[in-house]
Amino acid sequence: MMPSTTVAIEYQHVCKRFNGANYNAVNDVDLRIYEGEFITILGSSGSGKTTLLKMTNRLLDPDSGDIILFGENIRDVDPVLVRRRIGYAIQQVGLFPHMTIAENIATVPKLLKWDKMRIDDRVRELTVLVGLEPDEFLTRYPAQLSGGQQQRVGLARALAIDPKIMLLDEPFGAIDAINRLNLQDELKRIHGGLKKTFLFVTHDINEALKLGTRVIVMNEGRVCQFDTPENIVKNPTDGFVESLIRSCREQERFW
């Protein structure tokens, strides 16, 4: 099952407590993610999923513990450089309202000073990839798109430079069931098996089990279980994971 033995992301006893809080938003997370894995992260609201992602690209720094990306402790790397190596689709999408869709998607290639031809080609390619018609959408502004369309642009923007590590925080939250299935397949294809490492947060258990090579289940800042989808379903390690699986089964009973 392990696609590689190269460790892409290693969390070493990572803790984070926000100012004024009396609990750890992320509590002693300690795990290794290998290159090429597609990790999905499940967990109730407030369980620390977003916080964990933000520490991975140094939008936040842990209070204790270390995060190692491809053997390099990111504490020692300029945050700007860390972020440019990592694709990040934020939960609130956060498109730039003063830029067209094309300019939004081109943000990181422009920061890296790609030449214009290469940027234009890449922007069109990505637009098609996330299921939008380039001629129709590229010149529009974010306010002229539906929530789901904006999310797809957010995904395209994060994918722009084809980074080795992608952090995706509920990128399909506002997308309807049919398009969601298509995008799931598309994302799986983009992931492509071996070279890229994805961290994908979702509230949809089926999505997590379908996409993940391994699944992280979080509760109250802790990792309850980190295992393959099969093992999560067959041997839930604690009450929380069990109740999660049960709630999902109960939903399906309605069919």
Binding site: K54, L59, H98
Partner: protein, 207 residues
């Protein structure tokens, strides 16, 4: 009637007062915006400096303008005349400009700032690619408020020999010429109102 006759006889005088005034105001405004722009950028990198500057300039802003003119005259390089007047106007404007600039730049939707930062923009790139274009409105409001108040305060600058519309009023007072005083008031009020109306119109054009 008498007013119109006065204007016909003295249109050279009135026009010169008006153009001197506009010149003084424009120079002061340009310098004010440049200084406030630089200070705002410093404030974006060092939050405390921003808080401190806003505080200092809020005190300056609360000093009556005549007192501030009087305070500046003895300073080296100042003295009577237009330069001192412009320096005072620039100092006055800093509060209004800084407050609008800083709150505008900081008021950008945090999700947008997070997305930009997360993609690897430096702090400077974040300012000029994201914060400034998304704060055009508050920036412009600050400039409009500063401009209108500069037009008014510049009238008082005539007391320290800076010329402009204020000179009509001061000479009018000295010589007991009511027409001069009235024309001074009309020009000042007219300039202020027209400028404000024009800028409000432009402001609506900005999203």
């Amino acid at each position: 009637m008498e007013l119109i006759q006065f204007a016909q006889r003295n249109h050279g005088l009135l026009l010169r007062a008006l153009s001197e005034h506009i010149q003084m105001v424009l120079i002061a405004l340009i310098l004010s915006v440049l200084l406030a722009g630089v200070l705002t950028i410093v404030a974006m990198f060092y939050k405390r400096v921003g808080t401190f500057l806003t505080y200092i300039f809020s005190i300056v802003y609360s000093i009556p303008s005549i007192a501030l003119f009087a305070l500046m005259i003895p300073l080296p390089g100042m003295g009577l005349g237009r330069n001192t007047a412009i320096a005072v106007l620039v100092l006055y404007n800093q509060f209004m400009l800084l407050r609008n600039f800083i709150t505008g730049l900081n008021g950008v939707d945090p999700a947008i700032v997070e997305a930009a930062t997360g993609m690897g923009m430096t702090k400077a790139q974040l300012i000029y690619k994201v914060r400034v274009p998304l704060s055009l409105k508050p920036i412009f409001v600050g400039i409009r408020l500063a401009l209108v108040s500069t037009i008014a305060i510049a009238i008082i600058a005539a007391f320290i020999g800076a010329g402009g519309i204020g000179l009509l009023v001061t000479i009018g007072l000295e010589t007991g010429n009511d027409n001069r005083i009235l024309w001074g008031v009309i020009l000042a009020a007219g300039l202020g109102i027209i400028t404000n109306a024009a800028l409000v119109w432009v402001e609506r054009k900005i999203k």
